[in-house]
């Protein structure tokens, strides 16, 4: 098709569940493109000689090439092309913040709307999986080297895939009972079906990766013990300690960290209580503090658990909300309300120790702070009480001290995260590498995957004696 014709095709929307219906079920929100829609969208790609989109991708996916395969109707080839650089395309197509990465730099976005790269990525990966076209790649001859991978989130899964292909023995040690890390306990079913994560884990296992669940490194074993019978260790444990506000009444019943709320619902399947044993508060009026992706996930989970009202309480304004545009849009469509420029002051409870309300104060934006965002300042005397019977604190996480406390020679930065070389993931301890949120603090799936890839290369060089 001529370039002019291409430009006339509008960006194709993904068909999705009606917001009124989906606000009451846990099924995935978008249905994804069908073949026709995918090809139509793929035709919009200008196949740039120097593709800007690739520069915007932390793992440099060969975007024009995979899109070209979709145009040609060879969807399995598109998926294989994706997997050259991204071992989890079905996941990334769903959870990457494309609008600030590949799609932000897409040339079409300058004058109109960028190519829907994320939706195409998701389509190709789903097509391959749903049609049983996934092929298990050949792995190189065994090297006799063993690598321990601690945690099984996106950084670890990427690294495990890379190292197993090079012929190393790879053993993942996971503290929880199901592998996948944040993809399992954090991101809800309606945004990332758990069957997709299970399929990715299964793919790694078929390549030979071993996974041992129920192993809490720092408790069940230590890094030093792992180093006794492994040639290198990778720490991809995430930033697993929730932040609270330290406000009066925060330990009332009904006040959750987002980690707890989402773990109960996602990992423990509390939304299926009493079929599953783990309960969760079924709040009528739910307040979620924070406006990142995790806050949106918690808010939309609360709706699906039957809440009448769900409010996002955020101290800055809409422009500063850190969540993906699509998550905010979906939450709003489903009926989540936004109490912006509002900050909690204390939690109010009844005699049974249950939260019944939250005293808040209105905020205004002042001068930019160190994050470059305008600093929220309380407006004196603007206090008011918001009624709520469930509060979810979604303010991010910090570093879990379980591993550092048993590994004294592992250097940390002033926030408690592990110090690692940004190019190799090498830590202060020989043979130990780290990547993902435990190094950077809360970030994205794709950045963790990028760190996993770099560390895999560095570990390969190290154990083969080249480093």
């Amino acid at each position: 098709m001529a370039e002019k014709g291409k430009k006339k095709i509008p960006r194709q929307a993904m068909p999705e569940q009606d917001p009124k219906v989906r606000a009451h079920n846990f099924d995935e929100v978008p249905y994804g493109y069908d073949e026709k829609l995918a090809q139509l969208e793929a035709q919009r790609c200008l196949q740039c000689k120097k593709p800007k989109c690739v520069e915007g991708c932390p793992v440099e996916v060969e975007i024009p090439q995979f899109i070209k395969f979709i145009v040609e109707g060879d969807f399995a080839a598109a998926a294989r092309q994706l997997k050259n650089k991204n071992s989890l395309p079905a996941v990334c197509g769903r959870v990457c913040p494309q609008e600030s990465q590949c799609e932000q730099t897409c040339i079409l976005g300058k004058k109109g709307e960028p190519v829907a790269i994320g939706r195409l990525e998701r389509f190709a990966a789903d097509y391959e999986r749903n049609n049983n076209l996934v092929t298990i790649p050949e792995v190189e001859a065994p090297t006799g080297k063993r690598v321990a991978v601690v945690g099984s989130g996106p950084a670890s899964l990427t690294l495990a895939g890379d190292l197993i292909k090079k012929g190393h023995e790879v053993i993942i040690y996971e503290a929880l009972h199901t592998p996948g890390g944040v993809l399992i306990y954090g991101i809800p079913e309606f945004r990332l079906p758990k069957a997709i994560v299970a399929a990715e884990v299964d793919y790694l296992q078929k390549m030979g990766v071993k996974i041992e669940t129920d192993v809490v490194v720092g408790k069940t074993t230590t890094i030093d013990e792992l180093l006794e019978d492994h040639d290198a260790v990778f720490l991809g444990v995430g930033a697993g300690l929730p932040l609270f506000l330290n406000l009066p009444g925060e330990n009332l019943c009904g006040v959750y960290s987002a980690n707890e709320y989402l773990t109960r619902s996602n990992l423990m399947k509390a939304y299926k209580f009493p079929e599953y044993d783990t309960p969760i508060a079924l709040g009528k009026n739910v307040a979620v503090i924070g406006a990142g992706n995790v806050a949106m996930d918690a808010a939309r989970t609360a709706l699906r658990l039957g809440a009448d009202t769900v409010k996002i309480v955020y101290r800055r304004s809409r422009a500063e909300m850190p969540a993906r545009a699509e998550e905010i849009h979906h939450a709003e469509e489903e009926g989540v309300q936004f109490e912006l420029l509002t900050n909690p002051v204390r939690f109010i409870g009844n005699e049974e120790g249950w939260v019944t309300g939250m005293e808040c104060i209105r905020m205004e934006l002042g001068e930019p702070d160190e994050s470059g965002r305008r600093r929220p300042i309380p407006i004196e005397g603007s206090n008011f009480t918001m009624e709520c019977d469930t509060v979810i604190v979604a303010l991010g996480t910090r570093a879990n001290p379980l591993i550092p406390s048993t590994t004294p020679d592992l250097k940390l930065n002033k926030w408690g995260y592990i110090e690692a070389d940004p190019e190799t993931g090498a830590t202060s301890k020989e043979g130990v590498y780290a990547g993902g949120d435990i190094v950077t603090g809360s970030a994205t799936v794709i950045l963790a995957m990028g760190a996993g890839r770099k560390a895999a290369n560095a570990i390969h060089e190290y154990i083969m004696g080249n480093a």
Binding site: A175, V216, T221, P242, N259, T263
Partner: protein, 278 residues
């Protein structure tokens, strides 16, 4: 899977002891630490204490009281059955040192199961150890022989007077504290009201008092904060900071309320289980 190799029913069928294969946990377990277990795919994760371990056999012994669905289900399991998950050892081990005066270890109900390895630890460190264990009635008393072995002096109380002192563990505790002014440490483990009273009893005597808390947990590795408790005005996570704390600093009111957070759901779950197994 973690195979059950032995089972004993104690205290008139209300308390149950299971020995479970979990070699890598047993290898690391220290007094004061706990495990999290899950029975099957639909099960919840519950924290339980390890009363004993056998490193050679690679087994752990857990003792629990039937209080709801998960513990009732657990009590129906027999040797040969298996648990889907056993995770641990979790929490900080008891800080054990040699004191120049007696240590009093006070246990109530199934709390004695938590107390036993700690008592043993104090004894093995060369301390003079006085034990006080109590139950509602004689048949509910557990681990008497084991506790006798690891104490220099074991006192027993029952609420109904069917065995030992007629009254509460705190009666005997107070009496000993009045008789001896060289007590260096008290460890009190049992139901929340009992631990609260142990702390109230020791407070006027200025004797450091450790309690072991058992709040609701999910992951038990510090990730979720379900187990948070106020100690000395600060929020602590029992799973990683505890389970043992200075009892004089613990906000027992808050702990009591938080333990009741899912009381309705727990009832519902238990009723459904009983109907199914009737």
């Amino acid at each position: 899977m973690y195979k059950i190799v032995d089972k004993k029913v104690m205290a008139e069928g209300t308390v149950c002891q299971l020995e479970v294969e979990a070699a890598r946990v047993a290898r690391k377990a220290k007094p004061g630490q706990f495990i999290v277990l899950r029975i099957d795919e639909k099960g919840e994760r519950i924290p339980l204490t390890m009363a004993k371990k056998n490193v050679d056999k690679g087994t752990l012994t857990i003792i629990f009281q039937v209080v709801g669905k998960t513990t009732a289900h657990l009590a129906t399991l027999e040797p040969g059955d298996a648990l889907i998950d056993v995770i641990g050892p979790l929490g900080m081990p008891t800080h054990i040192e040699k004191y120049d005066g007696p240590v009093i270890c006070v246990g109530g109900g199934t709390g004695v199961a938590v107390l036993y390895p700690i008592t043993r630890g104090y004894k093995e460190a060369g301390n003079e150890v006085i034990g006080i264990i109590g139950a509602r009635t004689k048949d509910l008393l557990i681990l008497e022989d084991e506790m006798r072995e690891v104490t220099d002096d074991l006192r027993i109380t029952t609420d109904d007077g069917s065995y030992g002192h007629h009254g509460f563990v705190t009666d005997v505790l107070k009496q000993i504290l009045e008789e001896r002014n060289d007590v260096k440490m008290v460890v009190g483990i049992g139901p929340v009201p009992m631990m609260r009273f142990v702390c109230k009893t020791t407070e006027p005597f200025n004797v450091p008092t450790t309690v072991s808390l058992n709040p609701i947990m999910v992951d038990a590795t510090g990730m979720c904060g379900a187990c948070r408790v106020t100690v000395g005005g600060k929020t602590r996570f029992v799973c990683v900071d505890g389970p043992e704390f200075d009892g004089h600093q613990v906000d027992f009111d808050e702990l009591t309320l938080r333990l009741r957070m899912y009381v309705e759901e727990e009832k519902k779950s238990y009723e459904l289980f009983k109907q199914k197994h009737a």
